[in-house]
């Protein structure tokens, strides 16, 4: 059974790779199986892990009856498919949107704004009082200047209430350079990530399936 499985897996892998040549029936078939299987996978796992384990056991084993409210809201969400009373799904949707908005507002504000600004307040030369200014390596001092100045000018570039002219324009120019180097870093890392995926699949094809790699 395992051998048949390996060949089936290879069939599907090559089916998806055939898209590189052109959009063909082999690719369309593999893609259709993928869409069906992944929808089914999520469907089954969310049933066993949530509706059964959390809701059903939660009510029967730990008699946490408040979970019924969640189940009712969930049922309303599914009623969206029903043509006439589909509007009822707006209530659970409103609950979800409200929860996400309230939760995001506080989390993003405290972790992504307050904490980041607090950590950008750093001394540029961290010499102890009285000692020589450059106790640290050149790289670290240059780094600290870049952290403080980079964040400051980056924010200036995304500031829309003042024309980018004169000194302000110069600072925005520096800001876009910092952001461009940041994009270069994510460009390099994204290429790394995509290549690792390809290497992983080739390891499957030539390793597990054809057994040509140790």
């Amino acid at each position: 059974m395992e051998v048949f499985g390996l060949w089936l897996a290879a069939f599907f892998t090559l089916g998806i790779i055939s898209f590189l040549y052109k959009d063909n029936p082999w690719y369309k078939f593999s893609e259709a199986v993928f869409i069906g299987i992944s929808a089914g996978y999520w469907f089954v796992v969310s049933f066993w892990d949530n509706l059964y384990a959390k809701f059903y056991l939660g009510v029967t084993a730990n008699d946490d009856y408040m979970l019924f409210v969640g189940a009712v809201l969930g049922a309303m969400m599914i009623l969206r498919l029903a043509p006439n009373i589909g509007w009822i799904s707006r209530w659970p949707l409103a609950f979800v949107v409200g929860a996400i908005s309230g939760f995001y507002l506080m989390n993003y504000f405290s972790s992504n704004v307050m904490k980041q600004v607090q950590n950008s307040v750093i001394p540029l030369f961290s010499a102890d009082y009285g000692q020589s200014m450059f106790t640290e390596s050149f790289g670290t001092i240059a780094g600290k200047i870049v952290i403080a100045a980079g964040t400051f000018t980056g924010l200036i570039y995304f500031f829309f209430s003042k024309e980018h002219k004169g000194a302000f324009g110069g600072a925005a120019k520096v800001g876009i350079w910092v952001i461009m180097i940041t994009f270069g870093a994510s460009f390099g890392y994204t290429v790394m990530s995509r290549m690792s995926l390809l290497i992983g699949r080739m390891d499957f094809l030539f390793g597990q399936w054809l057994g040509m790699i140790k």
Partner: protein
């Protein structure tokens, strides 16, 4: 009240004074209370116990933690005489002491984070010396409680209020029809030039509003920019082709282009198949759009909206047919590829600023200006803080040390 440059300066001065008025409230709210420690000088072979054990409720928690403090045992003088302290806890009436933690020598406090709100406890601390323990010194019983409001978060509350307040202020301000100033967006010039090229070469324009639905704010911004493109398309009768991946986006796209043709006085020149639905599936959509690009060889391609991994294929094919490409998205993972492959890219918030600039829609304008207040405060804090920290570190000076600490304290969150 005309809100151009002059009075807008007042709003920033008002914010700055408010910002500095935080000074008095914050630094007085949590003056650190310092305890006086008394030295105890008896010694015996068995390490003698720590003395003066006190347990206090940890302020502003969910009633689930208490702080145990004690005076170091006299044998704890870094000669390795003791190996640490062990902390025990039992409920006030029952006498079942359970060990809840061990700390190294030299430490005189321990935070117990697993208490029940409202139950009273007694804590005991002993010194350890390879297995043998001194007799246990007990603390007074305490019941960890909860305070009404977590005052440590006063700074978060005030700064949050300032930013939220300015967002609401600018939205209501814009709703009352006041003109809010937004700087010129360089991207809009690039869009006009790109359309100019299409009119000159007489080849079609391809517009792609991303692959997400209308609930994504990037798609809404893309459709707003479509309005501007459609106006020029209607005036100069250039052929526009807009393949979409979502049916709702198709209907909204058709309305936008039809409106442009009607306002240009040529309703008959508009036809519905300028905007056509292909498929919801990511790679199927991209394969079809590639086919359109290769066949029609558009002079200009616009990619304005939410994009995922397919951004690469679009930009590459557009490049191979020699089209001028203008992109705009807020997806961090795709921006590097668009910047490298397209002629001009609206980066993240520039897309939203361009959409607000064009639509003059109060919600978008107001929140953009409100966010600018937030950025202004972040910039002020970084500038003042770094200035204070550097001077304090290099040359001392109590004012700078205080400024550094104040800026840190202002943005610290302890909960």
């Amino acid at each position: 009240m005309d809100c151009t440059g002059k009075s807008q300066k007042y709003t920033y001065i008002a914010i700055l004074t408010l910002f500095l008025s935080l000074l008095l409230i914050i630094s007085s709210a949590n003056a650190v209370n310092s305890e006086v420690l008394v030295e105890d000088t008896t010694s015996a072979f068995i390490p003698n116990a720590p003395t003066y054990v006190t347990a206090t409720d940890y302020k502003y928690d969910r009633g689930e933690s208490a702080i145990v403090k004690w005076q170091l045992s006299s044998d704890d003088n870094s000669t390795g005489k003791i190996t640490g302290y062990e902390i025990f806890r039992s409920e006030a009436d029952a006498d079942n002491f359970v060990s809840i933690g061990v700390v190294l020598p030299g430490e005189n406090s321990f935070r117990d984070k697993s208490t029940e709100n409202g139950v009273s406890y007694i804590y005991g601390v002993v010194t350890l010396y390879n297995g043998r323990t001194s007799q246990m010194v007990l603390s007074e019983p305490i019941t960890p409680g909860t305070e009404i409001v977590n005052w440590n978060l006063l700074n978060l509350f005030i700064i949050g209020l300032l930013i939220a307040g300015s967002v609401i202020f600018f939205i209501t301000h814009a709703k009352r029809g006041k003109k809010l100033f937004i700087r010129k967006i360089a991207g809009l010039e690039a869009i006009d030039e790109a359309i100019g090229r299409a009119t000159e070469m007489g080849r079609p324009i391809l517009f792609i509003p991303g692959i997400n639905d209308m609930d994504d704010v990037q798609t809404i911004a893309g459709i707003t920019l479509l309005g501007r493109v459609a106006k020029v398309v209607a005036d100069y009768d250039i052929k526009i082709n807009m393949p979409v991946a979502r049916s709702i986006v198709m209907t909204v796209g058709r309305e936008t282009i039809k409106e442009a043709y009607v306002s240009a006085g040529r309703p008959d020149a508009y036809s519905d198949d300028m905007v056509h639905y292909i498929t919801d599936e990511q790679f199927g959509y991209v394969a079809a759009v590639d086919g359109i690009m290769v066949r029609e060889k558009p002079a200009t391609c616009f990619y304005l909206g939410a994009f995922f991994a397919e951004s690469l294929i679009l930009a590459e094919t557009g490049n191979s047919v020699g089209a001028i490409q203008i992109a705009g998205t807020a997806m961090p993972a795709q921006l590097p590829f668009f910047v490298a492959a397209c002629d001009y890219t609206l980066i993240g918030e520039e897309l939203f600023a361009a959409s607000a600039y064009l639509s003059n829609e109060p919600k978008q304008l107001g929140s953009l200006k409100g966010q600018d207040v937030g950025k202004f405060m972040a910039m002020m804090a970084i500038a003042l803080g770094v200035f204070g920290a550097t001077i304090a570190e290099a040359w001392g000076g109590s004012f700078f040390i205080w400024l550094d600490e104040f800026m840190h304290r202002l943005f610290t969150i302890t909960n």
